[in-house]
Amino acid sequence: MNIVARFEIPYYQYLNETSTVIDTLPEFAQDPQHLQRLYRLMVLIRVFDSKAIALQRTGKLGTYPSSRGQEAVFVGMGDALAKTDLFVPYYRDFGTLIQRGAKLSDFLMYWGGDERGNSYSDDKTDFPFSVPVGSQPLHAAGIASAFKIRKEKRAVLVTCGDGATSQGDFYEALNLAGIWQLPVVFVVSNNQWAISVPRSAQTGAKTIAQKAIAAGFSGEQVDGNDVIAVRERVASALKKARENNEPTLLEILSYRQSDHTTADDASRYEPKGVRETEWVKEPIGRLRRYLESIQAWSETDEQKLLAECGETVDQAVAEYQNCPPQPIESIFDYLYETLPDIYAEQREDVKKKEVPVHG
């Protein structure tokens, strides 16, 4: 008997849950200002998230999926991406997209039921959220194929949740990236839950990262509560993609500190006390304690930041609430580049329609 294959899955962490540096920090993380910038973004995301939930609870926003607990994943990815790279998000990823030119109000528009939320104010290249779970890794593979065909030194970053890794499309995308050697980085934002189903019920494998091995490239686990590790590993994988057309799978581990969406009640299935146990690992407090330990953050800074974030979010809410709905006939205006004549009558008809009353 011969062993024909062996594999290893590394786990990356720089700042542990007690905010202790356990490995030599990457160069960017030796710059306190850089870390402050990441910290500010994480706080902004959390402030926005709380506001969005409050808006939903008061009937001013539709169903909304919280990003609480995953802030370091979104911020680390956004910071690692080059402007010329392309990002294909899953539905909690607004925190990455706001670093790419999308506005906070875009996401209120989207979750408030307005397609214009997907037109991303100053980000004209990245993808909208894929609501059908797990379809988007294939789009990323296609985009990466286009970059490679055109010999552009660009990478694609695509995200999905742990539940999406059970979809055939996820495997098909990994498989193709390995065969065609595509400049794509697959991130699985593993927050341990797919609505009510825990990670342990999605796969019998010890890690999700090892699924890359079957596709012929490397996979690794990253502490998703450590923004330094996320930023460093995503940047490293994107560089390999851009320079060598080498795909990577990153399983970024965090914990969903919320219900699945505002339409969910996790108390029906989440074991009592787990969320609290996991909270000690959460990313914002972890980085704050570190910044304080190197005298790069103070309570005054914190209060100032919270006030700024509150203002920024209030402004986004005002933009959303002051934006009138699209004209009703717009439902026809983006079906095709030019609306075929036979639909003109329906388009005229809808303009005459009274506002329906639902009771």
Binding site: E115, R116, N118, S119, Y120, K124, F127, P128, S130, P132, S135, P137, L138, H139, A140, A141, G142, I143, A144, S145, A146, F147, I149, R150, G168, D169, E172, A173, N175, L176, I179, Y334, L335, Y336, E337, P340, D341, I342, Y343
Partner: protein, 326 residues
């Protein structure tokens, strides 16, 4: 000029557009050295290389999803599915993504993909190789569904579909792939989408059909002419969006209409055409609209498939029925 078959016209259109536009890329199973199971991409890998004629692993959803990603970056992918019966794993990608991307991004991202597939029965193929479920795609907002029925229309409509800025499901009647040959000049001239083609004019009855059933319908029209019945034959060609105006104008002239398709009857495209005639052309009618269609069954295996397909005689019988009304 040598005459070419429908499948050769497909190859000719693909080659023309790949020469004319570097953004056109092909992907699918066995389309490289093998030239595709029906040889629609024969020789193209030699001329354009494996970067632009891409053999994919065996996964249909992947073919569609990757084509969508490519298209958003300005490429014009033409994706081949080996048979219509194998498109179904790709329905999420085609219906949820390709058809909606322009709408959901308010025009920021678009999806100029052609999804090609052989379709229809009558070639004694194994099961799942005989589907004609075009109505499923015709029901999906944001798609175009195009079905050629001759070498010339295959060439011109495929060029138009590749140049179209929106996703097109392009269904090639496999029964006609090598049936009649035609002169098809390789002049790069596209035919218009979204319009029907009137293949034969006549004052007595309108026969509306598409795809491989054009063959039986034209034969029926010839036979009827010998009996003194002049049938107008309309090849719908673009199933969605449907050019109902051409059909209504013909029905206004003839007062009678028979719709022929090989797809199952219930919720087939014929039902919609019939409904639109009832809504907009009832007063033109001298007789009820009739449909001659496949049955509401699974397409039988090869030994019985000829019984499933509408026949020339069934079409003639339906015409004789509608002619009995004064």
């Amino acid at each position: 000029m040598a005459e070419i078959s429908l499948v050769e016209a497909i190859t000719q259109a693909l080659a023309h557009e790949m020469r004319a536009d570097a953004d056109v890329v092909l992907l699918g199973e066995d389309i490289g050295k093998d030239g595709g199971v029906f040889r629609a991409t024969q020789g193209l890998i030699d001329e354009f290389g494996p970067e632009r004629v891409r053999d994919t692993p065996l996964a249909e959803s992947m073919i569609a999803g990757v084509a969508i990603g490519m298209a958003t970056q300005g490429l014009k992918p033409v994706a081949e599915f080996q048979f219509m019966g194998f498109i179904y794993p790709a329905l999420d990608q085609i219906i949820n993504h390709a058809a909606r991307l322009r709408n959901r991004t308010r025009g920021r991202l678009t999806c100029p993909v052609v999804f090609r597939a052989p379709y229809g029965c009558g070639i004694r193929a194994p099961e799942h190789h005989s589907e004609s479920t075009e109505a499923m795609f015709a029901h999906t907002p944001g798609l175009r569904v195009v079905i050629p029925s001759s070498p010339a229309r295959a060439y011109g409509l495929l060029l138009a579909s590749i140049r179209n800025p929106d996703p097109v499901v392009f269904l090639e009647p496999s029964r006609l792939y090598r049936w009649a040959k035609q002169d098809v000049p390789d002049n790069g001239k596209a035919l218009p989408l979204d319009v029907c083609f009137t293949l034969r004019t006549g004052a007595d009855v309108t026969l509306v059909t598409w795809g491989a059933m054009v063959k039986e319908t034209m034969a029926a029209a010839d036979a009827l002419a010998k009996e003194g019945i002049q049938a107008e034959v309309i090849d719908v060609a673009t199933i969605k969006p449907l050019d109902i105006a051409t059909i209504l104008a013909s029905v206004e002239k003839t007062g009678r209409c028979v719709i022929i398709h090989e797809a199952p009857r219930t919720c087939g495209v014929g039902a919609d055409i019939s409904a639109q005639i009832a809504e907009q052309g009832l007063m033109f009618l001298k007789a009820p609209v009739q449909r001659v269609t496949g049955y509401d069954t699974i397409v039988p295996y090869a030994r019985l498939e000829r019984y499933y397909l509408p026949s020339e005689n069934q079409i003639i019988e339906a015409v004789n029925n509608v002619m009995e009304f004064a």
